[in-house]
Subunit: 340 residues, 2 copies
DNA sequence: TTGTAAGCGTTATCAT
DNA sequence: ATGATAACGCTTACAA
């Protein structure tokens, strides 16, 4: 059953040199004579040699890979972040190990498993319990946390939420919308929690009634639609929906359509993320842009810095966000940027 | 500078057992006495032991990972496929190594690099030259090709293009649209090429004038918009745009808006893929649904089957697609499915 | 039930 | 410029 694949010994035999020489050739060590290098290279081709990554990793004590732990891999938000990670890691000659915890039964097991095969880890949000993170940290594994509070002394990359959530809510209030409901789940992610905080703060400062609780919805279109339908099914219908992300907002658009409500006249809607399609919706979705690719790129650079050995003290980076005013909030303007 | 991480020896010493016993405990071998297992487990915690994946892979000759080669990782299409791959691989206890060739200078190098650290490879479309694929195949690496023609004897997973492209074009023709232009790049991917073929075939059978050439656009919104603008800037404006995928179609929507054209009255538009937002566009986008997650899941299962050793002859699977009639083609109906 | 020891396929240090 | 050879950290017969 299946003969063993050729190893460095196979090549050495075939070329009549030592394995040391083969190794040198493979790594492009200039210390080998041109003629022998040629010969060895030829042998490698003819025997179909493919160096074993595990053996190399074992010998060099470096995996040349970093691991990503995400809830799942679909959706514009994750896609954007992963894109940035991939590009940055690639530029530094590193590969990416990606896992989605949602599809796994035991995320902790998965992560500790993954941690065996990488030089560093990038962990998104609430994918794994803090305890697991602390444990990995104790093990000395370079770690970067994404969109979540720090644990112990790891690096963190987050984006600004509270401030712009407050500003955006104020904007909605200034449009004259009286009852605004927040759709999202503050308990599901630190990001959502901070947006909810800002939302509440704006109301508090506004002097008007302060919202008690959000209408719960996960960051998905389908749930957003259901939640919006629920939110709109009351006697005194809300005038605006502050959605915790763009996917929820898209669900809200669908709900509005089903109820025959016109946006923004009958119902104003805002999102968060500024995913690519946001401006293709009709009317254009007012939302808050996050620098997705940058989040990923920065995270990659940070882990690899640690892997490289620099022992600087842990740093938390908060990337800025930007309010994108389009039409769904009640503004007429198509385009234009309103910053905070 | 950084002391060495604890190994199996560290634990063995600490627990007063042999490394073999530690290994057994770590792998959950039931042959160890409960008491010793406890003790060893305790030692593992206190010394902060994290097994080295490379060493394990070297000893077992299995990486427990499969590699994915994609052009890039963003966009709904890739996200969908990757999602399916992740879930299926996860269910089988495998990890995913993902690389995007677009961000790399030497894709071939990247791929052969990747191939050293995985048990099998899933390669999408035209990311790497056929020669590289053939080489990997010769090396005996389990390989599954996605959305592209077979090379030698590898497994292939594709979706139906020609037939439904022809049917969809016929549908457009039946709507009475006279001039239809194809936006996309047949040279960029086998998928696009087949859709173009079907598009042309429908015209040929229709007896009317047969389109000469497509308006070139990559599978991206921005390019789609530019291409649509270009296509619409002629004296006898086309009545319909057959877009090679939904992202291009979204660009076409934007172009139509800019030109003040109403869809579908002034201009009919169709897409391909049925990405999640397709039905949120106004009007709903008529398109062709591909089973994205299934493509990924099937690919994962196929590679892992090979890895498992089964040497069945290579199989090409063509997954069915389904025409989703919404409003952008000229139909009134919101919803409803029209199959072929 | 536990230990001994021979791999696994590289890299890297010394010699030569 | 090239070759021996000892790691690298784990798995796995084979013994005990």
């Amino acid at each position: 059953m299946g003969k063993r694949p050729p190893t460095i010994y196979t090549v050495a035999d075939h070329a009549g040199v030592s394995i040391a020489t083969v190794s040198r050739v493979d790594r492009g060590d200039p210390a080998v004579a041109g003629s022998t290098a040629m010969r060895v290279r030829a042998s490698m081709r003819t025997v179909g040699y493919r160096p074993n990554g595990a053996a190399r990793a074992l010998a060099t004590r470096r995996h040349r890979a970093i691991g990503l732990v995400f809830p799942h891999l679909s959706g514009p938000y994750y896609a954007g972040v992963i894109l940035g990670l991939e590009a940055a890691a690639g530029a530094l000659g590193q590969n990416l190990f990606i896992v989605g915890t949602d599809s796994r039964v035991r995320p902790e097991q998965l992560v500790s498993d993954l941690s065996r095969s990488v030089d560093g880890l990038v962990v998104m949000g609430r994918t794994v319990p803090d305890e697991v993170i602390a444990e990995l940290q104790r093990g000395g594994l370079p770690l970067v946390l994404l969109a979540r509070p720090a644990v112990g002394s790891s690096d963190v990359v987050r984006t600004e939420n509270r401030r712009n959530a407050e500003a955006l809510t104020r904007h909605l209030l200034e449009h004259g919308h009286r009852r605004i409901v927040f759709i999202g789940d503050p308990a599901s992610s630190p990001d959502a929690a901070e947006r909810w905080d800002g939302f509440v703060a704006a109301h508090r400062d506004g002097g008007g009634p302060v919202p008690i609780r959000p209408v719960i919805s996960a960051f998905r279109e389908g749930e957003g639609r259901a939640a919006a339908l629920h939110a709109l099914a009351v006697k005194s219908r809300p005038a605006a929906l502050f959605c915790a992300n763009d996917e929820i907002a898209m669900g809200a658009y669908a709900a509005a359509a089903e109820l025959g409500l016109t946006i923004p006249t009958d119902l104003a809607i805002t999102g968060w993320d500024d995913i690519p399609v946001a401006r293709f919706l009709a009317p254009g979705l007012t939302t808050v842009r996050q620098p997705l690719a940058e989040i990923g790129a920065l995270a990659a650079r940070l882990v690899l810095e640690r892997v490289g050995g620099s022992h600087k003290k842990p740093v938390t980076t908060v990337l800025p966000t930007e309010i994108m005013i389009r039409s769904s909030c009640g503004c007429r303007s198509q385009g234009g940027t309103w910053e905070t």
